[in-house]
Amino acid sequence: MPTEPLFRPISAATEPFIDVEFDGRPLKVPGQGSVASALLAAGVPRFRSTPVSGAPRAPYCMMGVCFECLLEIDGVPNAQACLLQVQPGMKIRSQEGARHAA
């Protein structure tokens, strides 16, 4: 359920948007940058719920030290979205609580 994006491209010029899937639905995101920045620009406000209390979380540091941006990316749970380049066709899911084992 994307909302108004928190971030937008600064350059109105051609920022190639690509198609990915988020929580089973198609989503157009900026093609440059990490999965985390792509989703922030596409209006995804919340990336996961914690396995401790279920509290909602989203990216905080964007440099790989906070581990808040964890998503399931192409079947791999708890991936740090800010450290992975976004690619067309990626299947991304929010990380709800503790991951599945396999």
């Binding site: 108004e4 994006p5 928190l6 971030f7 937008r8 491209p9 600064i10 350059s11 010029a13 920022e15 900026p30 440059q32 940058g33 990490s34 920045s37 792509a38 922030l40 620009a41 406000p45 919340r46 990336f47 914690t50 401790v52 209390s53 509290a55 909602p56 979380r57 989203a58 990216p59 905080y60 540091c61 964007m62 440099m63 790989g64 030290v65 906070c66 581990f67 808040e68 964890l70 708890n78 740090q80 800010c82 450290l83 380049q85």
Partner: protein, 458 residues
């Protein structure tokens, strides 16, 4: 397991690492530069080689200057190993890293650690809500993806990076809802005691004042001397609340960018069990080094913000000095030549370091935003509150290790990066002793995530 060997392995491709790697390579040593990102630049010069004219305009000259350094590195014979997640460095200088889905390793005659800094945690009510990020995160979005806030954003905290970000946003046409500055009048007065440093670093001071002038000139609400910051919202950030004197204020916003300085990222030096001392002026742990950046363990050096916050220019100078020392240790650079080359670097470095006491005093993060109230989350990963930490101390825990055992703080995936300083300072305050006496977390590998399968394949 491949065991490649180099004269010098540099970890981190920011200004310190780029300068160290280029210098060492230019002196004829074999060099590998490992970095997590695909492209060199670290955080301060993140993606600088990929920035178009528009982005460089917004980000400013200091950022653009990084291109020359990256260029120098790329021209050198040093090898860039990007996308490398270093998960362990042994005391015998074997570096284990994950790249392309498997663990690889490299052994080095010397290791120069240039892992830099990270944002100081800012534990206030609501800081874990979606929509709360750091100023550094915002800069990364700008540099690596050309993104800026779409709605009016609130910047809160203190420090030159906050003003720099505001200035960059103005140039990009971003609407800023408010700047909530925690710097107090008293901070200016205390900082002026270091005015000698300010005079020496006049260029920096003038730049800072210029930023502030421009921000004010743009008519952005600028609150100074703010206290008791708190983010309001249930599922996401909705507003920033704060006090100005006796008056409570509330600025509505979906996005709060927090900043109260950066601190060294000590995970690797701590995992090597190297001694760190508590720096009371910078309020963080710094590893013990000599003037060249040599650590207490043979063959290990450190350069850049990782050895104490001093900025990008100083980092590059320290990187060069470390490389000179490494070359000398490797018997590839005689002492007189090493010292001759070092002299101008040291002078330049002194000039850079001169302004630190002034800046550190002026932008000292406030105690209430470092040692929070009971209900505030100290450990984000395990959702441990400051109150829980205090209860552990009341039970007899005297330091981070036992507190971790009892409360689970520091047991999450970030391995104490975001809670370490808070935990040390909360315990110190609860016990009435200095942070130096409390100590810091024991850090062990893996420093970055590695799966059981990857570990099993070693």
């Amino acid at each position: 397991m491949q065991l490649e060997s180099v004269d010098v392995a540099v970890v981190g491709a920011g200004p310190a690492g780029l300068a160290a790697a280029a210098t060492a390579a230019e002196l004829g040593l074999s060099v590998a530069l490992l970095d997590e990102q695909a492209h060199p630049g670290g955080q301060i010069y993140r993606d600088v080689t990929r920035a178009g004219v528009d982005r460089l305009q917004v980000l400013g000259d200091d950022y653009a200057a990084g291109r020359a350094l990256v260029e120098r590195f790329t021209q050198s014979t040093a090898r860039h190993v990007g996308g490398a997640s270093v998960w362990n460095i042994t005391r015998e200088r074997v570096i284990h890293y994950l790249k392309d889905g498997r663990s690889q390793s490299i052994t080095a005659g010397q290791v120069i650690l240039c892992t830099g800094a990270m944002e100081r945690p800012f534990p206030i009510p609501g800081w874990t809500l979606p929509g709360v990020m750091t100023a550094g995160a915002a800069q990364i979005l700008l540099k690596s993806a050309g993104l800026a806030p779409a709605q009016p954003v609130v910047l809160a905290g203190c420090g030159p990076l906050l003003y720099l970000l505001a200035w960059q946003y103005l140039r990009a046409g971003v609407r800023i809802g408010a700047i909530v500055d925690t710097t107090q009048r008293g901070d200016y007065l205390r900082a002026l005691r270091h005015v000698g440093g300010a005079v020496a670093g006049w260029r920096e001071v003038r730049k800072g004042l210029g930023l502030i002038r421009r921000i004010r000139g743009a008519g952005i609400p600028f609150y100074r001397g703010a206290t008791e910051l708190a983010v309001e919202g249930s599922e996401r950030a909705e507003a920033l609340r704060f006090r100005m004197g006796a008056t409570s204020h509330r600025v509505q916003t979906d996005l709060v960018l927090l900043h109260q300085g950066v601190v060294p990222n000590n995970q690797i030096t701590a995992s090597l069990r190297l001694a760190h001392r508590w720096d009371e002026r910078q309020l963080c742990w710094v590893p013990q080094t000599d003037a060249w950046g040599r650590l207490a363990l043979d063959g290990f050096l450190i350069a850049g913000d990782g050895r104490g916050i001093s900025g990008g220019t100083a980092a590059a100078l320290q990187g060069e000095l470390a490389a000179l020392a490494a070359a000398h240790s490797a018997a590839r650079l005689p002492e007189p030549e090493r010292d001759r080359a070092a002299e101008p670097l040291r002078s330049a470095l002194r000039r850079q370091l001169h302004i630190r006491p002034f800046l550190d005093t002026l932008y000292r993060p406030k105690l209430q935003h470092r040692v929070p109230a009971d209900e505030v989350i100290a450990c984000r990963c395990e959702e441990v509150s400051a109150g829980e930490l205090r209860r552990s101390v009341a039970l007899g825990c005297t330091g981070p290790s036992q507190t971790k055992a009892f409360s689970r703080c520091g047991m999450g995936p970030c391995q104490g990066r975001l809670c370490g300083l808070t935990v040390t300072e909360v315990i110190a305050q609860a016990r009435g002793v200095s942070p130096a006496e409390v100590g810091h977390y024991r850090i062990r590998p893996p420093i970055k995530p590695i799966t059981l399968d990857e570990l099993a394949a070693l």
